[in-house]
Assembly symmetry: C2
Homo-oligomer: 350 residues x 2
């Protein structure tokens, strides 16, 4: 049986002021008018029954997620609230154990909840190919063709010759985490590199075997978290470690399957430009907006009337308690802004 | 005794979204942090006792003005609420009557409440000069040296030779209301033109005599408005007419006294630039604002955190229910914007 683990514990405020400490990207209604987490679930609903969809998130998002998921009607017991953030090994390992206990032949798809996939049919097709390979004992990761030398992503370099040519998958040479620009440029020139989208497909016992071998201490802890009491007791002892580092970089069972699925991690307000429909002036207006003569702007309002006059290449975001007006070529500074907010009297706006 | 009539019934939304239908410019805290009406009162407090300060306003501003004036502690009976807007003859005539009834030798200074005066000591000095001329039976208006060929102002052309050279005052040749640009340019070249600031100084009986002579019908109506009942009955019959048109343009008793008092009518958001202190980047930030690398912007926030990044020559105004982001060179379009709001579902934001 196929099971889905959705990772929804991420933080991040690159969509500030829309994204906040208590409302990170996965809960935002971008680029569609549904929360990204909800879109992630809908994307795989044709593949699995909802009783087989699990969500791991941080307990600080309890209220947010409860509201969103009421509509989706998922079983409450499928929500796993991490007592503290422990990167990805914790939630993936813990939920894989629970799924394995119920279904020893379980196939699992791990999906981040804050990415956008444009070509959904193609995405499902690739997942089905990956699941075939997973049945044979491989751990499959989807590889995204780089669109440029991004320094914010993890890269995966594959071996030149795909020794296991099953379904166009490549064996993996190594992982490169967030390379500096020069390195990133070199990587994308090599043609053997893909972005790591954090999507993994495996049999439950394959993964647990990998954890047992490469992270035996964590395996032992995870094996004792079969109920809430176990989680409460042993979760704090887990290392803060990613599944990539703990298992994927070490196992020989990893295959990379290239996936042309229109993937985007929506890294900033600018990413919306590639995904949302613009009006004839190149503007994206969402919410109660009124514009006179602007070009190539993103104007985004929750509730307030947002009036724009004669702007060019700007991002304007209005929420009930905070407003951002940012030149497009300065959008990376939103992160710096949030850092500044953290350090002073404005921290309630984060 | 000197009495002050402050006209505070004006409408106007050029400072939208700060200014609204129920909160026009005279109630805004610009450019200081006190409402303009309050600044107007404070400006003349050294000249008169507060029991001699009268305010005429529209009854739709009752709530706004009551709140503001509580702090100033003016006698409630000095507030005159116009049942409908009837331009300036109505309120000036009516209050002049009431003042005359109490003090037949009363000297009156009429002041708009939505103008800024930078040089207050000089302003008081000019008023005292004007009051001297008023004692002699003249009606004095202060003339502002034009700063440019503004088309939105009324101009007053004086006679080349000041026949009555009392205190540097000029006799008036004619009034020119809101001339087209070419005409305005010609006017300011002539060196004999001043802007009409709507400030008048006269003896009560001089003005009432003027109304009696040049607008006898209105005089009759005004004479019957000595109490609330009279106002209720006769106010609606008043013509919608300005004191300028009804009396000033016709009387031979008018003198213009040039006044270099740093006058500004604060015609748009841009006007703040000349009056408020800028930071070293040329920015004016008011309220909870946080800026990264902007230049020459006005950022104005009531309550919300307003974050600006990398902007240039912009006006950004944030209020609890509406936000404006406007290129400085398009500030005149704020008026057009408000017109559009009026015509559609957004009219609650006006």
């Amino acid at each position: 049986m196929i099971h889905i683990i959705i990772l929804a514990g991420g933080t991040g405020t690159r969509f500030w002021p829309l994204s906040r400490k208590n409302q990170p990207k996965q809960f935002l209604r971008i680029p569609s008018d549904r929360p990204m987490l909800e879109e992630t679930i809908r994307r795989v609903r044709r593949l699995v029954d909802k009783k087989n969809i699990y969500i791991a998130t941080n307990k600080i998002y309890y209220a947010t997620i409860a509201k969103d998921l009421k509509r989706l009607n998922l079983p409450a017991k499928n929500l796993f609230f991490e007592p503290q953030s422990k990167n990805t090994l914790g939630p993936i390992g813990c939920l894989s154990w629970r799924i394995y206990e119920k279904d020893s032949k379980a196939l699992i798809v791990v999906l981040p909840s804050d990415h956008h996939v444009r070509f959904e049919a193609r995405f499902l097709k690739v997942l089905l190919q990956a699941l075939e390979a997973a049945k044979d004992g491989f751990i499959v990761t989807l590889g995204i063709k780089p669109q440029g030398p991004q320094t914010g992503y993890g890269y995966i370099k594959v071996k030149r010759k795909a020794q296991s040519t099953k379904r166009k998958a490549y064996e993996v040479e190594r992982f490169i985490e967030k390379p500096p620009l020069a390195k990133a440029k070199k990587l994308i020139k090599s043609k053997r590199c893909y972005w790591n989208a954090g999507i993994f497909i495996f049999k439950a016992d394959t993964l647990l075997g990998g954890i047992k071998r490469f992270a035996p201490r964590e395996y032992h802890l995870l094996s004792r978290m079969k109920d809430e009491l176990g989680v409460e007791q042993f979760w704090p002892k887990l290392k803060n470690i990613s599944i990539d580092y703990a298992v994927m970089e070490k196992t020989s069972k990893l295959l990379l399957l290239p996936a042309s699925i229109g993937w985007s991690d929506l890294g900033s307000w600018l990413a919306l430009e590639r995904l949302m429909k613009k009006d004839k002036y190149g503007n994206i207006l969402r919410g109660p907006c009124l514009d006179l003569g602007s070009h190539h702007i993103v104007a985004w309002s929750d509730k307030q009337l947002l009036a724009t006059i004669g702007l060019k290449d700007m991002i304007v975001v209005s929420t009930p308690d905070a407003v951002l007006v940012c030149a497009k070529d300065r959008v990376q500074d939103v992160k710096a802004l949030v850092q500044i907010l953290k350090q002073n009297k404005f921290d309630r706006y984060i």
